[in-house]
Assembly symmetry: C2
Homo-oligomer: 338 residues x 2
């Protein structure tokens, strides 16, 4: 089969790879129905995150179970399933606490930008839909695999509750679905921080009530203006830079919460600054597995349309164009079909 | 009158000072019934925190209202009152949210190690008892002014709930009252980290079920051992150093909470380390004013005995011995009576 492999900055190739096989009795092999390029794929693509060698890319996936190992009990051949970027046993204490991305046996799932994918710990990791869904639902269902689950966790980690004023830092697909998540959780006012007209439009479609184009200290001042000097009750940090993190912390009212899901790159928080900010800080790799049943339900029942973040659809063999379009911010997120 | 003034490292003096007077119509003047030396006073006393000039010391206080400004409405002359180290109006949005130490009009209250003290924003800051309490209650009531309120906030910020396993980093008076607070909030297991026999004993008296003497990475390993590799549900950080902060974060299970109340000194948190720890982080200067009514009630009704942290009682004019005894760890906390 052909799959996507990153060789170095800007050098992503769609090339011949071995087909995956069952390695452990708890594995499953999935025939990918749809996959996509993640904002986090851009960090190594842009050379801002080191890779140790040629790296099979892609960790967002949904598809049909092709094969299962001998110890797999609940996942069956022919089912349509969705999983997260970390495989988890879903039975350890961390999984029971809802933190499957800290599972004591977690394993990264890589190489999903390909026709076939091996998923470890299949019973714990994969969630099946009742029936094989219509193609129209694929974008929404694929979104639950990471980008929606991550935006949702940002809202959870920021303790978004009905009636709150919420700010979202970052207008990538995660930030936009953070807006959708805050709306679903009953936020009254949602301030999206974006200077990109098409992304602003999508933010509004997902429920944003205000748009702030300023960044850094000016962005903070604008949020304070909009909240009578108080700050937002909850802020979703969906970027992962020093500037975005401080923008999130400083936009939050004392006692308010920052939910951060952008993988921090060279971020350092000064203890005293954080101390006197009085904010609550929670985040990390989103435990998407926890949210999958609920999010799949919302998509299948047409309650939400997270698939709207895919504004570029390509056949999988044009995956390199997907990377380029996202790198150049021509596309928000590229949807790929084998 | 004579009051306590810090001139530089190790140089604290009890010397003649002007008596405080009403400066703003919202001020009150308190005749101090009892005051004490705070662990945070030791930072500048030890030269680890700069002072800009001779500094009147002391910010923990209770006493009788001697005089009030014209705009003071609820606080009356002759009442016994307790206040926090930050004066607050108790009406602004941050106060309403329970974060009086982030009050939009907050003012630091300094110079309490003296017979008389000026307290700004008296109506918002001071809480009166029903009647002037018996001397026996003074240590407990004085403790509510800061050290208990701070330990209590550590437990609140760490989301301590009934049945939880809680670890406490720091065996100073705040840490010990963090143990008491966790016990009051229903923690099932309380692990105190201390290598000091007398403090261990007091920790046990306040409710600690386990003592861990190891520190740093060894301390973390010990907490993991005691929790089947999972980590504590909640950790109270009551020191404020890089080591203590990382000890707290790394002792917490994913999804668990760190409540930090030790003023951080040269602490820097690496974004990615925090991200993958999956902990919740909350803390800051304890909004003691929020807790005063509840804590005063618990003391007056003999439900708790936080005054036990005072293991050295001195007349105020021997305040310098109080600093020395605490600096040399001969005393946990020095209680001073004018």
């Amino acid at each position: 089969m052909k799959g996507t492999v990153l060789y170095g900055p800007g050098d992503v190739r769609f090339e011949e790879r071995d087909e995956p096989t069952i390695l452990a009795p708890t594995d499953a092999i999935i025939r990918i129905s749809a996959t996509c390029v993640c904002g986090s794929d851009l960090w190594p693509y842009r050379g801002r995150q080191a890779i140790t060698g040629p790296t099979p890319m892609g960790h967002e996936y949904c598809g049909i179970v092709e094969d299962v190992g001998k110890a797999v009990e609940t996942v069956k051949r022919g089912q349509f399933v969705i999983g997260s970027f970390f495989a988890s046993d879903n039975t350890c204490p961390h999984c029971h606490a809802g933190y499957q991305t800290s599972c004591q046996h977690k394993e990264f799932v890589g190489g999903a930008q390909a026709p076939l994918l091996r998923v470890p710990l299949a019973d714990g990791t994969l969630v099946a839909t009742r029936e094989v869904p219509h193609d129209d639902l694929l974008p929404g269902l694929l979104a639950t695999s990471d980008v929606l689950g991550t935006g949702w966790f940002a809202a959870e980690a920021a303790n978004v509750k009905p009636g709150m004023t919420v700010a979202v830092v970052g207008d990538g697909a995660v930030g936009l679905l953070g807006v959708l998540s805050a709306k679903q959780k009953g936020a009254e006012r949602i301030i999206a921080m974006s200077r990109h007209p098409r992304r602003q439009e999508l933010a509004r479609a997902f429920g944003a009530t205000d748009i702030v184009t300023e960044r850094g200290e000016e962005g903070v001042a604008r949020i304070k203006d909009l909240t009578r000097g108080v700050g937002a009750d909850a802020v979703l940090e969906c970027v992962g830079t020093q500037e975005s993190m401080m923008q999130a912390i400083n936009s939050t009212r004392p006692g308010g919460s920052v939910g951060y899901v952008g993988l921090p790159h060279e971020v350092e928080l000064k203890g005293q600054e954080l101390f006197f900010s009085h904010v609550r800080l929670h985040g990390g790799p989103a435990p998407v597995r926890q949210f999958l049943p609920e999010l799949i339900g919302l998509v299948c029942n047409d309650k939400i349309e997270p698939g709207k973040v895919f504004d570029l659809t390509l056949p999988l063999d044009q995956v390199t164009e997907g990377y380029r379009a996202m790198d150049e911010r021509r596309a928000i997120k590229a949807f790929l079909r084998p």
